[in-house]
Amino acid sequence: MSNTPARHPSASSLPRLGGAARGAGLEMALTLIGALALILIAWAAPWLRFVLTIALAKGIAVLGILLLLRAGQVSFGHAMFLATGAYTVAFLAPSVPEALILLPLGGALALGLGLVVGLFVVRYRDIFFGMLNLALSMVLYSLLEKLYSLTKGTDGIRVAGLTFAGQSPPRETQEWLMFGLALGLALVFGLLVRAYLASPMGQALKGIKTRETRLEFMGVPARRVLLFAYAFSALMGGVAGTLVAMTSRHVTPLLAYWTSSGELVFIAILGGAGSALGPFLGAVAFELVRVYAAAQLADAWQMILGAVLLGVILFAPGGVWGILSARLKGRAA
């Protein structure tokens, strides 16, 4: 990955090479430290294991938001892919209880939906892109809510008991399995996104943000670039949804509601779009702030969450990742 700048030779490539390598090293070190810290917390405080599993799952979905953010596009409807994955699990678990089959299946269905939806939405940019996504996700929400005989409406569906590679382990082991699965997938998708962003396809996303016409002049089809990113993000949303459903074991249409999509964007901003680590930093920070706020002030946790976001926007536009990397780089230099 450190050879990326070499592929785009420019006058400043040489000094940047060192910086990029150091940045990559920092990112890797932080990832390892972060993963270890999460495992330690999950071991020490059993109840946080659940919260962290959900946070990791949401982090995976937010990785998808991050891809689109690179192209300057904000999707206010990405929760639809999360819900697709989650409802796949809920619907199929009674007949196919195997988690290791449901997981890719949920991802694949979301990917399919992402491709179809993507064909339409990648024609639009900015507010139109965001609003179209929002509209489509609300269509899914309404379907989940109104097809009462199928989906049990707002009360939602209980996810039946799952098996892992044919085994049905006790609760404690199952929680660890879900946590491990989420952590493993988070690492895999994090690395994939990193490699993708460094590739020419990923670099082209930046081109969409700065000036799309130039991209077209270079012979790069912007729509196809964005469609690929969109489908990839849908896949990650679907996988995240399956993880959420398997962990919380109950799905409701609220998963597809616009507030859930907003939450994903919130996490992306909170974490910072500068690195593939950002979504996970953001998701863990978000879930912990929410759970701490709810524990301390059951009446006013929304206010605390809002204040944190305002604080991040006003004082740390690079998000948690921005704060961390600036501080660590400053120390290293």
Binding site: L40, A44, A45, L48, D155
Partner: protein
């Protein structure tokens, strides 16, 4: 949190926690990370912690906040009179508004970190459906204090979950029986329910029972405006035009208030008879706007003008102390909270007695709730073998008296819980489909007053 650690059960448990705690202390200063642990807590704890899931924000906080106030009021009273088995009680409130995925996380936090010994969950049926399987897994006695879905005990058995109050089935059937007695000749009906699970479920049950006991009623309109709608002009127009004899609405909260105001303005109440099974909680807000002569329910028997409460002094004391503190009459969620607290007291008393004065563990506590009978200010409630509580239902006709600045029922019929509840092991809709017109003969006579 240090309290949580000192009272953490057996020596081995404490040691493990201290080791973890020490490791974490080095890692972070966050107090919540300390695992509270309740391994083996068999000796009498220093306090009895009760987790309470309720709506503290969002539209359903019209139920959640009064219930929270009730819990605070009654917990204070319990502590003033020596606690439960000599142990003071302490509530831990959590907001169920952010959705089930947050709530199941909070449930785990309450059990694994705060060390609560019993949980009250919840108002929303979705929350209850998500929490009951968790109660099975974590073996924590859970009182379903306000949710109404019939699915809980009809779709599976939950050894640690109990519902110390009625549920959707009787709360729909009782008003229907009242209607069949009060206006047996109605020929058409329209429904306007909120578009979510309760709105759909209640109509499905109503329809099943109505078609079974009085076939041939024409349904002129089935309207499901969205939850939280603020404008019902289209629906009111439809209802005015379709001229049904009866209009059913199981809507609640702000939605019902808005619907009643907009329907009253356009004289819909003059044209059709309304049946409002969840009206009680909105009557104070509506005051004199609410028209007289319509069928109203309270999700139970706890009306302020209950004709013959079991313990009139207790009811009066509860209502007066609530009014004195919060300047309003208690509504049904307050009574449901009070019922859950009564059930908790009775359950602990029974478990402690069964253990000869010792403090019960989780399994012993849950065992004490099975078949438990406890007193409420208005009646007694028995928890059936499946965990469902048998709460009587009182339905009546709205009217105004000197005593209250809002509508209360008259010509009340008290439906015994066992009569209107679906028998154990049967599904509500199926059971209601099999009801016969002769069932009406069992309905008691109205009580004047």
């Amino acid at each position: 949190m240090t309290q949580a650690m000192t009272q953490a059960g057996t020596a081995a448990g404490t040691e493990a926690i201290t080791r973890r705690g020490a490791m974490l202390g080095a890692l972070t200063s966050g107090s919540l990370l300390m695992a509270g642990g309740n391994a083996g807590a068999q000796q009498k704890p220093s306090e009895l912690r009760v987790g309470i899931a309720t709506f503290l924000s969002g539209s359903a906080s019209v139920f959640g906040v009064p219930a929270r106030q009730t819990a605070e009021l009654l917990f204070d009273e319990i502590n003033k009179s020596g606690g439960i088995g000599g142990v003071p009680v302490r509530p831990y409130f959590v907001d169920e508004a952010p959705g089930t995925e947050h709530l199941v996380g909070e449930y785990r936090r309450l059990v694994q970190n705060e060390g609560v010994q019993i949980i009250f969950a919840a108002i929303s049926s979705g929350s209850c459906l998500a929490c009951t399987p968790l109660s099975d897994e974590m073996r924590k006695t859970t009182l379903l204090w306000d949710c109404g879905t019939q699915r809980i005990f009809e779709e599976g058995s939950h050894p640690y979950a109990f519902r110390p109050q009625g549920y959707g089935g009787p709360e729909v059937l009782a008003p229907l029986l009242y209607l069949l007695k009060h206006k047996p000749d109605f020929r058409s009906i329209a429904v306007i329910n909120q578009d979510y699970a309760w709105g759909r479920d209640s109509w499905e049950m109503w329809r099943a029972a109505m078609d079974a006991m009085k076939p041939g009623v024409r349904v002129t309109a089935e309207l499901f405006p969205r939850l939280g709608a603020t404008d019902y002009s289209t629906e009111v127009t439809r209802l005015l035009a379709s001229r049904p004899d009866v209009i059913l609405s199981t809507s609640w909260g702000g939605d019902l208030v808005t619907l009643v105001r907009q329907a009253a303005e356009r004289r819909l109440f003059d044209r059709s008879l309304f049946v409002l099974p969840v009206a009680e909680a909105s009557l104070q807000i509506l005051g004199r706007t609410f028209p007289a002569g319509h069928i109203i329910g309270a999700r139970g028997d706890h009306w302020n003008n209950h004709p013959k409460p079991k313990d009139p002094a207790r009811l009066a004391k509860f209502v007066e102390s609530y009014r004195a503190k919060f300047n309003e009459y208690p509504i049904y969620p307050c009574h449901h909270m009070a019922q859950a607290i009564s059930a908790m007291q009775a359950g602990y008393a029974r478990a402690i007695a069964a253990k000869g004065g010792g403090w019960p563990n989780d399994a012993e506590l849950a065992a004490a709730f099975r078949g438990l009978t406890f007193d409420t200010p208005t009646s007694t409630i028995t928890l059936r073998e499946d965990g469902q509580g048998l709460e009587d239902q009182i339905v009546g006709i709205s009217h105004f008296t000197e005593r209250f600045p809002f509508a209360v029922p008259k010509d009340m019929i008290l439906f015994p819980a066992a009569m209107v509840a679906t028998p154990v092991g049967q599904k509500s809709v199926e059971w209601m489909k099999g009801l016969k017109a002769e069932f009406l003969a069992q309905v008691p006579a109205p009580i004047a007053g």
